[in-house]
Symmetry: D2
């Protein structure tokens, strides 16, 4: 089945909805253009079934190699026209032939977003173990191994045309006394400085933070304050990366985002949703209003600094798919992001600023809620339609029986690398 054909059956209802919403705002075209430009990177490890320490229940048809991962993302992008980037994970995705991989990605309209290093697991044949950390480790040889790995990742990224490195360290401790916090910080900083030196001039490095897990007492890059300390000491190419699930309960993430933007140190995002911890659920499935408030700060803060929404921050999904088809889940996540971005673009900024100046809390709340309560599904669908995508990506995915085809082609028992 062709996308166009599937669209046809949906067109009348879409047109009704679009006409209504387009008639209610004079910014329709501007918003459609911004939506079209906005691309969310898909992490290579999110294409397979995820799991927990208690178990994993794989589906089937998972990509067996990097080429198939790119094909999967190519399909997502063909449907939603908003997934034109991939974020690779080394060593899970070392390209045997970078030129071929670049060509394949280009065919699918996909660019290479941030590269991800892995010093939180031991790989078969690895000389030294990360059991007690990597860059923080008391053993210099292990720190060096972790530094070398990150530099290796940069090299792979250069070959593929990426221009950023995300460093997520699980380093930390499980018990009081295990770590000298200060020394762990200093070791980590020194390691990051070595990695920073290996960055090409046009590259950025993102220092990701996380409150807890897999270490359950302390984490050495544990919150935005720590990440910002590292990024500040590293230099202008270093930024903080915000993963929505990496906070303590009740944290005001949107305020963190606003302050990082203010400091010129926000680098990018890992989108997901959560109720308890780093649950890695589908974006927007638990706290959609929080996501809206974050986008509201992003739009306001990036505009205030003259930043390009689509290019000046790294946007990436980082979720785990334990009970859903990973591709369907990713379609839902991207949809949630685009809807929320559209709502944030609809916020009446002048009215909001005026309300803030008058301490008119009621009106300030109304302005945000008016945008959030607006049904923008037709705007996002129209942007997709104009770009050649599907009016209903999930509907198409089901109607075209994509998963069944993938299982037929790749088998039922395939296991994609990743979590």
């Amino acid at each position: 089945m062709e996308i166009a054909q599937h669209n046809e059956s949906l067109l009348a209802a879409h047109q009704r909805a679009f006409n209504y919403i387009a008639g209610e705002t004079d910014q329709t075209e501007a918003i459609l253009n911004k939506l079209a430009a906005f691309q969310v990177a898909i992490p290579s490890w999110a294409l397979g079934t995820g799991g927990t320490r208690f178990g994993r229940f794989p589906a089937g048809g998972e990509p067996r190699n990097l080429e198939e991962k790119i094909e999967d993302i190519g399909l997502l992008h063909k449907l939603n026209q908003s997934s034109g980037a991939i974020s690779l994970h080394i060593p899970w995705d070392i390209p045997s032939n970078p030129a071929n991989i670049r060509a394949l990605a280009a065919e699918h309209g996909i660019r290479f977003d941030a590269m991800n290093s892995n010093t939180f697991q031991d790989q078969p044949g690895q000389a030294l173990s990360y059991k007690f950390g990597s860059l923080q480790h008391v053993n210099k040889a292990i720190r060096q191994q972790a530094i070398d790995h990150n530099i290796e990742v940069i090299k792979h990224g250069i070959e593929l045309g990426s221009d950023s490195l995300t460093v997520w360290l699980s380093d930390g401790s499980c018990f009081p006394g295990q770590l000298n916090f200060r020394q762990a910080f200093q070791h980590t900083l020194e390691g990051l400085q070595e990695i920073y030196k290996a960055l090409p001039d046009n590259w950025k490095v993102f220092v990701e933070y996380k409150a807890f897990e897999p270490n359950f007492y302390s984490t050495t890059v544990g919150d935005w304050g720590q990440s910002l300390l590292y990024a500040g000491k590293l230099g202008p190419k270093a930024y903080t990366l915000v993963d929505l699930g990496h906070h303590l309960p009740n944290a005001n993430i949107e305020q963190i985002v606003a302050l990082l933007l203010m400091e010129g140190k926000l680098g990018g995002f890992h989108f997901n949703d959560s109720k308890y911890g780093d649950d890695d659920l589908t974006v927007g499935s638990i706290k959609p209003y929080q996501l809206f408030l974050i986008f509201n700060e992003l739009v306001e803060g990036m505009d205030a600094r003259g930043m390009n929404h689509a290019k000046d921050l790294g946007w990436m999904i980082d979720a785990s798919h334990n009970v859903k088809d990973p591709l369907e889940d990713l379609l839902q996540s991207v949809e949630a992001i685009m809807l929320t971005y559209a709502q944030a673009l609809l916020v009446d900024r002048k009215k909001l600023a005026a309300a803030q100046l008058n301490n008119d809390v009621v009106t300030a709340q109304e302005v945000l809620q008016q945008a959030f309560r607006t049904d923008v599904r037709a705007l996002v669908a129209e942007a997709r339609l104009r770009a050649g995508g599907s009016l209903n990506p999930l509907g198409y995915f089901r109607a075209a029986k994509v998963r069944a085809q993938l299982i037929k082609k790749r088998g039922l028992k395939t296991v994609a690398t990743g979590l």
Copy 2:
């Protein structure tokens, strides 16, 4: 300015929005009828400026007595046609002439919802102190005083035509060792049994629970499990009352609601919103999707038991208004409740049930999100319009300069009783 006059200026836009949404569902009339029937009680203590232990910043024009409180709610109800009930607090609102008060309320179309007792504060002239609890107290005389007070509250309620009593106990402890938990439970149970005996046959008693505050180590009715234990031991007229802000971080309130409905022991609700604790913020201002999920369970669970949405549970707002005009805040809260109720009514229950039967998690999520993403503002506005209310209650309140008039009439320094 008349409401009708104000509506006129908004009518064209409303009609456009309503026509669109009415065209998208075949349940419009059914939903409008349910919305019209749904009334949210306003607590008498929410009409004045709230505060925290750090301070209070009163506005002005607050109601100086019960009559003025009823007038305020009358105004809200005139505007939104959804606030036709008042929940009184004794001793703050003891009516000097119940018959007159009843007549005044009737004039405004307001009935008397649950009565609230107060054994968490000492009143001037009170014989014995509640410093160390009321129904849980080690001193029998103090327990009796609290029992007597609750029975007194029932009597006031009977005179006014109420038919339920809400018992919120702040009883608990601030330090380990302070309390024998078992004894505190038994004392509280015995007290509630005495109060239960004084309930008229057609009355209900709601046992409210709260995780913490004002006691900071333990609370003697601390969670739904404890409340249900009490309610079960008391008998068929006793129910659990759920206040949205009275839970530990990350609690799944919608599941609690579903289980209480299953047990036939859900009595009613205190609506508010919160980010950290019992913040008592405007309903729907922080976690609107959680509110939707709760209403989704309410609609499903009440329908499954053949319950009447409008009559078989107690619906009440319980919020504090520290930085907003209390009346404006209440209008926002009621609006959020009505919108969420409308969205819950829109859920495609057949499709949801089918998805659940197939473990089609993706579709189940879609069904809920489709309803939540629908812009139902015009439905709620239409229900108000048909009932003679305002298309935009908040807009009218501002345009008619209601607060200025109240200040002029009542003064700037008035202080309503309550928190």
Copy 3:
């Protein structure tokens, strides 16, 4: 090296400490007797290195089969004389020859504590998948498979001389809409009822609850209130099991324990410690005072009901050992439990009760703190010494190079079954 020999070098210092503390209380002998009687079961899955979804860093010398697991626990028990029980997990520990296993355990002075079923993972060759739950499942055949498995576990337990079954269900949902909460509860209840029927008369079934993980939106036995509902509907042989890590942030676990005891429905404990979630850290390593407060309620509540501390509740460790030698960790956990139990026995209950009666919060706190601040290490060591154990189990374990021997015997790459 013999234990006695190792003890000799520690005897002088021990005697000094013991003499001092024994001189300060007239209950020394009574406490020593209670300590000697108190045995903590070791779960069979805790003898290997644990891990997280991000990775696992095995040590070496892990037990390769049930026989070796019993040997490991035998060693622990020989050292601390307080680990004379094992809690098995089916299917990880199905005994090929129950009689031999019983004899081996008896040799080591070990009895069989609660049996644990597993319906949270799919085993190789399993007919139907637990991906979407087990007892809660919409598919009757899957529910039946889970019921049958539990009955099978009971049979294994009977053969070994166990007399209780712990049912931990990971059943729940990851996304709003996935589950009909009410139906999930009913299915689960029906399944438990079938299992209950298969219980021998002298058996108990423990219904364990958990707030979240591996499901991240709802859990079908999610808190003590739900567990108590199930246990109440099941009958007198059903009890609630409390795992310290299975609560929402800030929960008052000691109050829950007191109320469950009051209701006669507390069945047993899974000990561990945590800072963030179900971190499964060494008992007493993060919040030792909370553990003390729990034991304080246990001692008080069990005494009030005339219960036998050692026999009338199930005591078990449930921790994961990601960065420590599992046997060393277990020695630390048992030590923490024994110390805390000793402190709870030291509480001056008359003085506490009098303070509570007087609302003398300061003295009540003092009474608890006096006990907690007392150094009881020599009491616990003396109890071990008298029973023939080691004055310093951890010191002996290191001095005798136990782990090196186990690695030599079993190999470096062994992997114990479990988490």
Copy 4:
């Protein structure tokens, strides 16, 4: 009754305990000297009964003016010899005659610790309201009023001999949209810069942070990361102040402390304890091990920088006394601090460092637990005894019927200024 007389009856038991513990360490004298030097400031507002937004239950005999507050602290200091400092709050404690107040304090051996400003409440007659914040306010005149107030506080402090200013701002917002986070930060920074300019050369300013309350959506100095940002931009006289109750659930405060020390930006402490939020409970009453871990970092980190434990950080209690006699509660709090400090001094730092170097997590935990499990009450008592204080301050306070005397002298209905 004289202190010496009361001590006499306790001396034999004390001597036994002290002899035992003194025999177990060779650092006894060094520790006693450090304990003697360590002084904890009492905040002037903690001498009266606290309360919550729900109510307040005053005791009696509360100090009616600054002179009586100093007398109360003088009494505490006489008993425990560790409370030789007072932290004043302006405007609650404006001295009418600074010279007299200084002389009175000197008589009691009390110095003036950090001064506290108050821009979180409106005072009678105040020109402009802080309802919507102070230094963050959109209105420049209100910001200036707050700046002027802080400069006024510095002036009072200079007159009294204080050398530091604590700025706690409740500034923030209750609802999304209310605040432009960036602008609020900038305004606050500019205000702090003005205040900073007014600081004498030998003064410090402490920027206190708090996660939430009284604002329930955002706080403008909300966490240590934000406080450090302000302190860094202000200059070398600006530091971060850590209040134990001002964090999100599960925060690792000891790691924060270690990092702030590393950055040379830790200024001081507000001690209290809590289970849920900013509960302001007695120090050490809920999580004594966390307090120990914090002191462990303080001792290690201050030693590493060559800092003087007693002088180089500000130590202050900040608690609320809702159900206890405030003076008794303060005695318990100071005792908990001194015991914990003594335990932290007992930590075997060489062994800990060696364990850390070997990733010997088990031993690292043992080292900390050995210190924490040691009964150091006799050490702290001995330090008090040598300094002329009471062996049992709380016992003396009760035996001498201090509260009854204060009520007799000051009356039952007095209300101390403060929370």
